[in-house]
């Protein structure tokens, strides 16, 4: 690949107040690529996504999206640039219907955008949502909520979709179903950066992966290589 | 106002300053005209009220918007006892303080279970409700028409204290309030309050019986406000439910504490003295615009020193950071 990547992160440091969580993180995502970030709890995976979408400031290093720097840009603007973030815990608007949640997902395209076409596209990806359009999201199962959250992220036709802890608290069969959609999303042109704890699942769908450990990139490479690497298990269980 | 350990070497210093200020208070009295004496008396009363709010709102972190209930209750207990039962003021004063404290414990038990602003507004509801009850118990309280405390002649259970008398009364009461808060701040109880203010779960995990401690703080704050109300009722002679339970009095307590520095001993004193003197000065010199200017000052102070003046100065002395924009950077969206 000769052109510059869609997302390029180099030497990124970030944290909360005086507390630094990420140390010198390097990472790239190319157009239409599906990349996984795995690592044990507290490794800084969510913090990385939060820094990229502007929720917390980048204290050192750089992150560029389509060549434009992300440091110091507000959350709203970054969302407007086509970088969608499906946050940990889904963070749907609990009192609203699925349809309203999805409509809000397409906010960046203004009154004209987020039309029926986008809706149709995400409903095709997640047909289970079609019958739920009028249902209030708070009353749905965790799996349906996660589908709705991913669909909401896609409504803005983003160039990069970042999903945080997709499998958290969900039954394996649901996880498999949602993860199974990700390659198609990537193939249709939206790159996906997936953060998850389910190593096997995440690396099965993703082409490449990064393993974070205590705020550093401990390992990175092709999914197949990582799956075979004993270092992954060491990062999680602390023993070989 | 240094930390307990650091001050242990010079522990006598704050006490010495306190005694000096008290003495200066007596000395000042001889230098004042009657009008000025009344103004300073009002300032001293607000020192008591601000410290009352400081205990529950500042130290414990439960912002009571109904604190005037204790003031009004104290005033009415004194008024009714002196008017209906011809009890001497000093008995009525004690009864007012105790009843206000008891009332604090009574309403504190259910109310202090509520968090944050729910507690604040429930307390407001209690204050407004108390006023309405007082207004409607006409046979006991005189109702909306108010009551008159007998002060002169054979009718009076205690002779009127006069300007000088009330000055001394409120000076001593203010000293008592400041002393109370100082002792609380340094005691085990004060540590409990501050722990509850910061994190109730963490406090409980360290053995602080949170409900008991909160209720005690509310009750003690009620005592202070009740005593102030009692003295105020005697001084005012004619009392009415509206002014005795005026929500503006509560708001003034909050403003004084927050602007001065909540959860400190000195902050509320500075807040009360500064704001009340400023208010009186504006009233005298800019009669028409006085509340407008006061409002402007509050707006500016809140934006620049949301943590209070004492906290700002202390932070500045400690870190050398005096930027006025720090809090804006922290709290803006």
């Amino acid at each position: 690949m000769t052109e510059s990547p869609l997302l390029e992160v180099s030497g990124l440091c970030a944290g909360y107040g005086a507390v630094q969580v990420l140390w010198d993180v390097d990472l790239t995502v190319a157009e239409g690529e599906l990349v996984a970030i795995i690592g044990p709890n507290g490794a800084g995976k969510s913090t990385l996504l939060r820094a990229l979408s502007g929720i917390i400031p980048i204290s050192a290093g750089s992150a560029t999206f389509r060549g434009r720097p992300l440091g110091g840009v507000t959350i709203e603007r970054i969302a407007g640039m086509g970088l969608a973030h499906v946050p940990e815990g889904r963070r749907l608007f609990p009192g609203m219907t699925v349809r309203d949640n999805l409509r809000l997902g397409g906010w960046r395209h203004g009154r004209a955008g987020a039309g029926d076409q986008d809706l149709e596209r995400v409903l095709e990806l997640f047909p289970a949502l079609r019958d739920r359009l009028r249902q209030v999201v708070g009353s749905m199962s965790g799996g349906e909520q996660q589908m709705c959250a991913v669909a909401r992220g896609l409504m803005s036709r983003p160039d990069l979709l970042m999903i945080d802890e997709l499998s958290l608290g969900l039954a394996p069969v649901i996880v498999e179903e949602i993860m199974g959609r990700l390659p198609r999303i990537a193939a249709e042109g939206t790159a996906v950066l997936l953060v998850d704890q389910d190593v096997e699942q995440a690396l099965t769908v993703a082409g490449r992966g990064y393993v974070l450990e205590t705020g550093h990139v401990a390992l990175s490479g092709e999914s197949g290589t990582l799956l075979a690497d004993p270092g992954v298990r060491r990062a999680y269980l602390g023993i070989a | 106002m240094t930390s307990v350990l650091a001050s242990s070497r010079r522990a006598w210093l704050p006490w010495a300053v306190g005694v000096l200020v008290l003495a200066a208070g007596f000395g000042l009295q001889t230098q004042l005209y009657t009008d000025q004496e009344r103004v300073v008396t009002a300032v001293l009363m607000y020192v008591v009220l601000a410290q009352s709010w400081n205990l529950i709102g500042g130290y414990t972190g439960y912002a009571s918007f109904g604190q005037v209930a204790f003031f009004g209750l104290g005033g009415y207990v004194t008024g009714v006892l002196m008017w209906q039962l011809r009890l001497p003021f000093w008995w009525a004063l004690a009864a007012s303080g105790l009843l206000a404290a008891g009332f604090g414990a009574l309403i504190g038990l259910p109310l202090l279970r509520l968090k944050g602003h729910y507690f604040a507004i429930a307390a407001l509801g209690v204050a407004e409700g108390t006023r309405e009850v007082i207004t409607n118990l006409t046979s006991v309280t005189g109702g909306g028409g108010g009551l008159t405390v007998p002060t002169f002649g054979a009718d009076a259970p205690t002779a009127y204290l006069g300007n000088d008398g009330f000055y001394v009364f409120f000076l001593l009461l203010a000293a008592f309030a400041v002393l109370t808060v100082t002792l609380v701040a340094r005691s085990r109880f004060g540590f409990g309050l501050r722990a509850i203010n910061q994190d109730e779960d963490a406090a409980a995990a360290m053995g602080v019986p949170t409900t008991r401690v909160k209720v005690a703080a509310f009750s003690l704050s009620g005592l202070l406000a009740g005593l102030a109300g009692s003295g105020y009722a005697f001084q005012a002679v004619n009392i009415y439910p509206g002014p005795m339970f005026d929500v503006q009095i509560t708001v003034l307590m909050v403003v004084m504490v927050v602007i001065g520095g909540s959860g400190t001993v000195l902050g509320p004193v500075l807040g009360a003295v500064g704001l009340q003197l400023l208010s009186e000065w504006l009233r005298a010199n800019y009669t028409t615009y006085h509340t407008f200017i006061l409002g402007t000052i509050i707006v500016i102070a809140v934006v620049l020193f949301p943590g209070g003046l004492v906290t700002y100065v202390r932070g500045g002395l400690r870190t050398g950071q005096w930027s006025l924009l720090t809090s804006i950077r922290r709290y803006r969206l």
Binding site: G238, I239 | L5, N197, D199, A202, M206
Partner: protein
């Protein structure tokens, strides 16, 4: 470290402990006991119910079923402050320093209100230094918690717990977010507390810490007890690997573990 006879009254015993949130069983039918002086690791993937379990023991949550016994005494549903005064101390997963107070004052609260309540704040502040000494924080006594590093904030959390001079110490992820070099001193401290006879439950994600310090490991999964045994055995259990790394990882890689095990 362990060596506790089975006949001894367990320091902690839970019987059929459960807690529902709406339809979700955060903790279900949990039963086990811990003899005095043991260091027990409690592990499990995110959402396994570890923190809920701690909250049920300390009274921060009321169980919907079951009992908690402390040295044979039923303490189920007692308020947290009473549990604390019974010498059960805990740390919080998300540290809960008292931000408006100095580090020394933080610790003094526990000394003033804990089981050995001292009446005077001055005395408590002096005693606080002894506790801070133990966790290596004495030099920072006058600092407010906001200025502490992650590691020091975790130490403060520990110091607040130790101020109660506990019999039973529940450590809820005291090592999360620490850099590898910062973990060893914490482990050393846990060992020394155990040597003093304290019973310690270590709830942790950092596996190498669990392995290094525990006499025994409990694995929670979806609110239930998955396994209970010596650390190495537990971590080699395919079910545990599956719970952590995903449902297929356990199947494909579980076999390797059996081969590697004899190395130790």
């Amino acid at each position: 470290m362990s060596g506790a006879a089975d006949t001894e009254t367990p320091v902690l015993e839970v019987r059929g402990l459960g807690r529902r949130f709406g339809g979700l069983h955060a903790v279900a039918d949990l039963s086990f006991s811990v003899p005095p002086g043991q260091v027990v690791g409690v592990i499990g993937p995110n959402g396994a119910g570890k923190s809920t379990f701690v909250n049920l023991v300390t009274g921060h949550l009321k169980p919907t079923s079951g009992q908690v016994l402390l040295e044979g005494q039923d303490i189920t549903g007692e308020p947290p402050w009473k549990v604390a005064r019974a010498r059960v101390a805990r740390t919080f997963q998300i540290v809960k320093p008292l931000r408006g107070m100095t580090v020394r004052e933080n610790v003094a609260v526990g000394l003033l209100y804990g089981p050995d309540a001292s009446r005077h704040s001055g005395a408590a502040l002096r005693l606080a230094d002894e506790v801070l000494e133990r966790v290596g924080l004495v030099a920072l006594g006058d600092v407010t918690p906001g200025e502490l590093t992650v590691a020091d904030a975790r130490r403060l959390e520990l110091a607040k717990a130790l101020a109660l001079r506990p019999k039973l110490l529940l450590l809820d992820e005291v090592m999360a977010g620490l850099r590898p070099g910062e973990i060893e001193p914490s482990l050393e401290l846990i060992r020394s507390l155990s040597a003093d006879g304290m019973t310690v439950l270590v709830i942790e994600h950092v596996m190498r810490a669990i392995v290094a310090v525990s006499d025994r490991v409990l694995v929670l999964h979806q609110g239930r007890l998955l396994t209970d045994g010596p650390p190495r055995e537990v971590l080699a259990d395919p079910r545990v690997i599956e719970a952590y790394l995903g449902h297929r990882y356990g199947r494909t890689h579980g076999a390797d573990t059996d081969r590697e095990q004899p190395r130790d």
